[in-house]
């Protein structure tokens, strides 16, 4: 399968989506509702990062599994 068929959607999803996520994350951390001294807020920050990596990994591994079948 061609590179553009396999990886272009992935790069677009986590490139464009990643920029939007990062803007949202920076806005959230800079808002008065987020206070780094609060332990729960620090946990939420880590969870937000984890969620992004979690989905990027699921989609990435899914593509690799499909490619393995094609090989």
């Amino acid at each position: 399968m061609e590179f553009t068929r396999v990886w272009l959607p992935y790069l677009y999803l986590y490139g464009v989506g990643g920029v939007l996520f990062l803007i949202g994350l920076v806005m959230a951390v800079r808002s008065p509702g987020f206070q780094a001294k609060r332990r729960s807020d620090r946990r939420w920050f880590r969870l937000l990062i984890f969620g992004f990596v979690w989905y990027a990994a699921i989609h990435g591994l899914g593509i690799l599994a499909a490619l393995e079948g094609a090989a």
Partner: protein
């Protein structure tokens, strides 16, 4: 060794037919199931069971606050499971099985792209609606802008929700059609019967009943989807047969970048991951009411995070699995399920192939009853908007019971309008396309106005009004001139002759014009005074906490306690009193908010209430509560209470 299906007692209907090589075997199986008494006993029994379950919990409704919001009392796990049923509503099984059959694992895309806006939801919108006690989207618009914008938002929101109710009714009808049509039922008759059942239920239920019915159905739907998938694997002869029957491209989790026109990655990214995700998290009135039913903002964050991280991927498998299995069957046994089967019929056909009448009855019942999860939430939300945004301002100062009665009438009217919507939607065609087009067109003005309102202090009332008028006008112009206006945003998506062009990627054009108009007009008009925006934007959310408490929040960390309780008639309404030592442990001062709940955690907050600390003069080891707090919490004498400070 017994097969998985045999162990469950759900041997396939197909075995009665024998594989006689007829291409309509699956359709025959569906029609045959409709003549089986077992099928009808299971179907009707399931509906009665669900109705009874919801009605039992309806007795916890004492006020319109309970009817619409469940009384702000529930734990995250209870809310997240009830959200699942709404997210895996009946249209999901039909729609995604159809796309899974045609395009493979990429049918899961819409379920696995909701994380991008989670930071803004968790630290922006959720604290605002919770602490400012925003009961509806239009109410937010009035507080953020003015009454005129509220009216515009109310109209847009009601159109959006009634359209969704119509899609729900239509999809359920398409689920039952392969079974009932051979018995002489018409599509119109099925729509009316379905609407009557949903309307009766919601009219007597309310949000508490909806939450608990959806909790039950959330479990059942996930399990039904998984079991159906496993039965399908068993029918095929195991996972290896299934996996090897599918083409490699079919297994990719993301669709092709910009083709075909009816299912491409980039169009669905803008329609679903962007417009759809913002719509789901920020303007879904049904979802907002669920989060308002959480006992705290942190519980709401937990519910949202757990739902998106873990339950949505499981839901994607549950709703698409039937389509993937059907695809594998169409490769290995095309005489059973034809490769040319209509996408909207795939779920029902596949279920009829792999299950007996009893099993098939269960699957059809689970999916059709799930219509209520989607539709009853929306009908309840329509009633909330009409009562709080239209009726109460016109007819103020009536007793609560009066508004509850009017809410029931509104629910019935919304059901009738939903039936009208179903007949209209039926003229658009394929369910996935109709839903995608509806979403790409109906959500951008509201999404833009909410989004800019929350995250940009400089966004003006004139900007919001222009989004609704000029933005919508430019969107309608693109319906007339799609190639000229949407073409530059289309990423090279082809436009087949005779089909509506750019069904999904028009969401990008619609968002660009709405955001462009809103930002452009705001830059040239006068914003509201900062003071009037306190608590209504992400940048003033700390004011919302002060508003919620009615004073300065007390952020000193305290511990949760278990205490005996008794009623003290002398306490002012809505207050409690604890002893000095308990007040220290809780880190609570007079005037602080506390949450009281039955000590049995598994009730999920069903018996719980909020109150303010009146003083630290109570007897040792006992929390004294005012009479109204006892009534609100439905507390039982024999069980102690968990007490914790909020914030």
């Amino acid at each position: 060794m017994m097969s998985f299906a045999a162990m469950l007692g759900w041997l396939p209907v197909l075995q009665d037919h024998g594989a006689d090589g007829q291409s309509a075997l699956a359709a025959d199986a569906a029609a045959q199931a409709g003549t089986s008494p077992v099928f009808w006993i299971i179907l009707i029994g399931y509906f009665i069971g669900v109705l009874g379950f919801g009605s039992y919990f309806a007795r916890y409704n004492r006020t319109t606050q309970d009817f619409f919001f469940g009384g702000r009392r529930f734990s995250w796990w209870l809310i997240t499971m009830s959200i699942v049923a709404t997210g895996v509503g009946s249209h999901s099984f039909i729609k995604y099985s159809g796309k899974g059959f045609g395009h493979g694992f990429s049918s899961t895309m819409a379920y696995m792209n909701d994380w991008f806006f989670m930071p803004l939801f968790m630290f922006g919108w959720l604290p605002i609606i919770y602490f400012m006690q925003v009961r509806s989207i239009p109410e937010y618009f009035e507080r953020r802008f003015n009454r005129g914008v509220r009216i515009l938002a109310t109209i847009a929101l009601l159109i959006y929700m009634i359209g969704y109710i119509g899609i729900g009714f239509l999809t359920m009808t398409k689920t039952l059609l392969p079974v009932l049509e051979p018995q002489g039922w018409s599509q119109a008759q099925i729509i009316w019967v379905v609407a009557a059942v949903a309307g009766v239920y919601i009219t007597f239920g309310g949000q508490t009943a909806v939450i608990f019915t959806d909790l039950l159905q959330g479990f059942i739907l996930l399990i039904a989807g998984m079991v159906l998938f496993l039965l399908g694997l068993d029918f095929l002869g195991g996972f290896d047969v299934f996996w090897n029957a599918l083409p490699a491209e079919f297994k990719l989790p993301l669709a092709d970048y910009n083709k075909p026109a009816d299912f491409n990655f980039v169009g669905i990214f803008w329609q679903d991951a962007i417009a759809g995700s913002i719509g789901f998290l920020f303007m879904n009135q049904g979802l907002i009411m669920r989060f308002m039913a959480c006992r705290s903002v942190n519980e709401g964050r937990k519910a949202a995070a757990f739902n998106v991280l873990f339950l949505l991927p499981l839901s994607a498998l549950a709703v698409s699995g039937a389509g993937w299995i059907a695809k594998a069957i169409s490769v290995t046994n095309p005489e059973i399920i034809s490769p040319d089967s209509a996408p909207d019929s795939v779920f029902t056909l596949m279920a009829s192939v792999v299950a007996s009448p009893a099993g098939f009855g269960f699957f059809v019942a689970a999916v059709t009853a799930a219509l209520m999860s989607t539709v009853d939430t929306l009908i309840n939300a329509v009633a909330a908007v009409v009562i709080n945004d239209i009726y109460r301002p016109l007819v103020p100062h009536e007793k609560d019971r009066h508004y509850l009665n009017v809410a029931m009438v509104v629910s019935a009217v919304a059901t009738l309008l939903g039936v009208g919507g179903a007949f209209l939607m039926d003229r658009i065609g394929d369910l996935y396309d109709a839903h995608g087009f509806f979403h790409a067109t109906a959500t951008p003005p509201l999404v833009t106005a909410i989004f800019l309102g929350i995250f940009w202090r400089r966004f003006t009332t004139a900007g919001a009004v222009s989004v609704f008028f000029i933005g919508t006008g430019l969107m309608l112009l693109a319906v007339k001139l799609p190639h000229e206006l949407i073409g530059p945003f289309s990423h090279g998506i082809p436009t087949p002759e005779g089909e509506m062009p750019f069904k999904y990627v028009r969401a990008l054009y619609n968002m660009v014009v709405c955001f462009g108009v809103g930002i452009g007009v705001s830059l040239f008009t006068q914003p509201k005074e900062s003071k009037t925006l306190e608590g209504l934007t992400m940048w003033t959310v700390e004011s919302a906490r002060r508003f919620f408490k009615g004073g300065e929040p007390n952020d000193r960390p305290g511990e949760r306690m278990e205490l005996a309780w008794k009623v003290n008639d002398a306490l002012p309404p809505g207050t409690i009193s604890v002893d000095e030592e308990a007040a220290k442990t809780l880190a609570a001062d007079p005037g602080d908010l506390v949450y009281l709940s039955d000590r049995r955690w598994w009730l999920g907050g069903l018996r719980s209430a909020h109150a303010k600390v009146h003083g630290a003069t109570g007897p040792k080891g006992v929390v004294e509560i005012a009479t109204d707090v006892e009534q609100a919490g439905h507390f039982l004498r024999q069980y102690g209470l968990r007490v914790e400070k909020e914030f």
